[in-house]
């Protein structure tokens, strides 16, 4: 299957520049080559069917019922050596501590603005800046409890942070599902590899959520927009694995300064809400009055500290794509450290000089709307027609604050199996680790590796034809080569 695989042109995760398999891939490469192609294909197809039967799907918006699709799973795992992961773990921990410090500051003293490290106007113009929570004291002082920052590797294999997702990052359920799927599909790959486990994530998540309430055995719920939400599977999965209720807005109500669930025996108090609903929709009294998904009066109870929300209201100000550009400065300002992980160079529409550069050579840049996620509101310059670029720039000129631009990062690639060709082909990938922030920072080893399955595409989002892989972090770097380690 690896015959005629061409790793050149980009940084390849599996092969080095001499076309040799990197040492941490050698053993599984040998093993995969030992499986006859028809058997490999049979297993891959069976695994697809399992995803379907288990209902591990996302919903594509567009029609009223919502069409469910499975997120294509590629059975070739992505491997991260122990030393590389240790570096990432340090960098991510540093970054998430700084981001929380920033959020505490910005909804409190605003020292960073006062000290002119960041421009005040940029911050308060963020669409996700919430005056409503100004001055609140949050449990543990944490604003963004569940973080999913996107990492990419450039042509030299350096990891860069592409963006931070501080509101309701999704995808962690696929990390767990992919691991399970791969152990079912190709169990032989795992023997003696010492792949670090990931399944304890939901235990860690539950404990972190419980730590947000002062009560002894607090009632945690997961709040979902409902069955037709794109990430509904994940909401249900996490609730199930934690053993907590999955609720919709209509299941909750506010009374007597508390939040309650409607149950068959009357009302039951809710202490912590892991909400997978944007700020805007949380409370029609406080935010969008037309939201039928939220809970009227919720924000007031939250302000009184009688219910905890994860992530906190207002956390989105820190993953505004324009604010993102300042994260390295935050790290130095709050922690007094050098950033361990770099940012992608970013031009801000907000900045006159930057805007000029953006408008000057749009065909070389990737444009993004600052408040969007999931690959929406994006323009990939080199892959767009002149007409598309002209139309997009129109919007940029009208509301420059709303846009940033970055050079096209030549994302690293990874061998990926294509059922149609029956071959391994090189696809661009990224990595979204999942970081839990409570009393301490916890990162489950690896994260979600997304794959741009549309041939040649750089966009990995599920909504844009992406797929995913199981992501292995090795316990140590001695067991992956074919001549070393057990079995």
């Amino acid at each position: 299957m690896f015959d005629h695989y061409n790793p050149t042109g980009f940084f390849d995760e599996m092969y080095d520049s001499n076309n040799q398999a990197r040492v941490h891939y050698q053993r599984i490469l040998e093993r995969m080559n030992g499986i006859p192609k028809p058997e490999f294909e049979r297993r891959r197809a069976a695994s697809d069917l399992t995803f379907r039967n288990q209902g591990i799907t996302f919903t594509v918006y567009g029609d009223s019922q919502g069409t469910e699709r499975t997120f294509p799973f590629d059975p070739v795992p992505r491997i991260i050596p122990a030393a590389e992961w240790a570096h990432l773990e340090r960098g991510l921990t540093q970054r998430v501590l700084a981001l929380n410090a920033f959020l505490r500051d910005i909804y409190g003293e605003q020292a960073i603005l006062r000290d002119n490290v960041m421009p005040r106007e940029l911050v308060i113009s963020c669409s996700n800046f919430r005056r409503e929570v100004f001055g609140l004291k949050l449990p543990l002082g944490v604003y963004t409890h569940i973080v999913g920052s996107d990492l990419v590797r450039n042509e030299r294999g350096e990891y860069l942070v592409l963006e931070d997702n501080l509101r309701t990052p999704s995808g962690v359920s696929y990390v767990l599902a992919n691991r399970t799927a791969l152990t079912r599909t190709l169990p032989g790959l795992f023997a003696g590899m010492n792949v670090r486990p990931v399944q304890h994530y939901t235990t860690l998540l539950l404990e972190m959520l419980q730590s947000l309430s002062p009560r002894e055995n607090p009632t945690v719920v997961v709040l979902t927009p409902g069955m037709y939400n794109s990430a509904y599977f994940e909401h249900a999965f996490l609730a199930q694995q934690m053993g907590v209720e999955l609720v919709e807005g209509r299941d909750l109500f506010v009374a007597d300064n508390r939040v309650w669930m409607r149950t068959t025996t009357g009302r039951a108090q809710v202490d912590v809400i892991y909400r997978r609903l944007d700020d805007d929709f949380l409370d029609p009294v406080a935010f969008r009055a037309d939201s039928a998904l939220g809970v009227p009066g919720l924000l007031e109870v939250y302000r009184q500290g009688r219910v905890a929300l994860a992530n906190a209201v207002g956390a989105g100000v820190a993953d505004d794509k324009a604010v993102y550009a300042y994260v390295p400065k935050m790290i130095e300002y709050y922690l007094g450290e050098k950033p361990i992980l770099g940012n992608v160079p970013t031009l801000l529409g907000w900045d006159k000089d930057h805007l000029e550069q953006m408008l000057a050579k749009p065909a070389e840049l990737v444009f993004k709307a600052v408040g969007e996620a999931g690959g929406y509101g994006m323009l990939v310059g080199p892959a767009s027609t002149n007409a598309e670029i002209t139309a997009y720039l129109e919007n940029v000129r009208v509301n420059p604050r709303n846009y940033i631009a970055q050079p096209v990062i030549p994302l690293s690639r990874h061998p990926t199996y294509y059922p149609d060709s029956g071959k391994m082909e090189a696809c661009h990938i990224d990595l979204r680790p999942y970081i839990l922030c409570g009393e301490k920072v916890n990162i489950i080893p690896g994260g979600l590796t997304r794959v741009a399955l549309k041939r040649g595409s750089l966009v990995v989002n599920s909504s844009q034809g992406g797929g995913s892989k199981d992501t292995w972090v090795l316990e140590d770097d001695t067991s992956s080569s074919p001549t070393q380690g057990g079995t």
Binding site: R52, N53, Q54, G55, V222, M227, Y232, H235, A236, F237, A239, Q240, E245, L246, V247, E248, R250, D251, F253, A255, M261, R262, T263, T264, T265, G266, R267
Partner: protein, 305 residues
């Protein structure tokens, strides 16, 4: 337990039980017409009466025959009680509480949905109705078997049982209503009578069990007694109502519904089968069963605060 969750469990059970009932009814009657030679006329209209929605059927189909009725009962999405519709609705309900039921239960429904609710045209084209109906029946058995072995015996289990048993009693009573309308046509040949009662028993998987209980020929009165009043038979009306009573005992705020159920049960226990067999009595029991269903809904599902 969340009211929405309780309601969903109740309806999942009803829909799956209904899919199974319709599958049994369709399977047995479809093949009974084939095995019955010219004795058994193609009696498709009674099936529409039993399953309800005869008017809706007439809007979609010109005549009730061996093609239109099986399509309507099994696959027509215009029919909210078709197998395909009920499985789809069971699955939607299950999807809304997939975190509440065991993964095995969810997977059972979801798999059935994917396998039984798509590409259904081929089923009739290839005369594969029997196999299809069998798979529906097995889905129901697998689902409830999985629940039996994995679902916590808390309120959720009680609501699941209530949905299943109310639906079961309702289905059987409606079959009996239609089947016992036409007694007294003494000129019908013996073999036809035998054939008809056999089909009725097989529809509710009661043929072999009935044979064990009564070592006589298939007597309409014995059959009715068995299906209505034999509490050892797990698809009988009285078994269902006893089960409803037992489940209600384990739910809070059930006093009123319990009273209603006990009264229904007491009347059944003190009735002779020939008293019940008059059409009015069957109608009355059916109404009472549905009253119990309505009370469950109003007591537990439509709460404000």
């Amino acid at each position: 337990m969340l009211s929405r969750v309780a309601e969903n469990l109740f309806w999942i059970a009803r829909y799956i039980e209904r899919a199974e009932s319709t599958a049994r009814l369709l399977d047995v009657n479809y093949y009974a017409t084939l095995e019955g030679g010219n004795l058994v006329q193609e009696q498709w209209s009674p099936l529409l009466v039993i399953t309800g929605g005869e008017d809706a059927f007439r809007e979609q189909h010109a005549r009730a025959d061996a093609k239109s009725v099986p399509f309507w009962l099994a696959f027509d999405l215009y029919n909210p009680s078709s197998i395909r519709s009920t499985l789809t609705q069971a699955r939607e309900n299950a999807r809304a509480l997939r975190e509440r039921i065991s993964s095995e239960m969810w997977e059972c429904i979801n798999k059935a949905y994917h396998e039984l609710c798509f590409d259904t045209d081929a089923v009739l084209q290839n005369d594969a109705l029997h196999d299809y109906c069998n798979r529906v029946r097995d889905t129901s058995h697998l689902f409830f078997g999985t629940a039996l072995s994995t679902l916590l015996r808390d309120e959720g289990w009680q609501f699941l049982r209530l949905g299943q048993l109310i639906e079961r009693a309702d289905n059987l009573l409606r079959i009996l209503q239609v089947r016992y309308q036409k007694t007294g046509t003494s000129e019908i040949a013996e073999a036809l009578e035998n054939h008809r009662w056999m089909a009725l028993l097989k529809t509710v998987s009661a043929y072999e069990a009935y044979r064990k209980r009564y070592h006589t020929r298939l007597e309409p009165q014995n059959i009715a007694e068995f299906l209505l009043l034999d509490s050892t038979f797990p698809r009988s009306v009285i078994y269902a109502i006893e089960g409803i009573r037992d489940s209600l005992k384990k739910l809070p705020n059930a006093q009123k519904i319990q009273k209603e159920t006990n009264w229904l049960l007491a009347r059944l226990e003190h009735s002779q089968v020939h008293e019940i067999l008059s059409k009015d009595a069957l109608e009355e029991i059916l109404e009472d069963v549905n009253d119990v269903g309505a009370m469950v809904q109003s007591t537990y599902f439509h709460l404000n605060a």
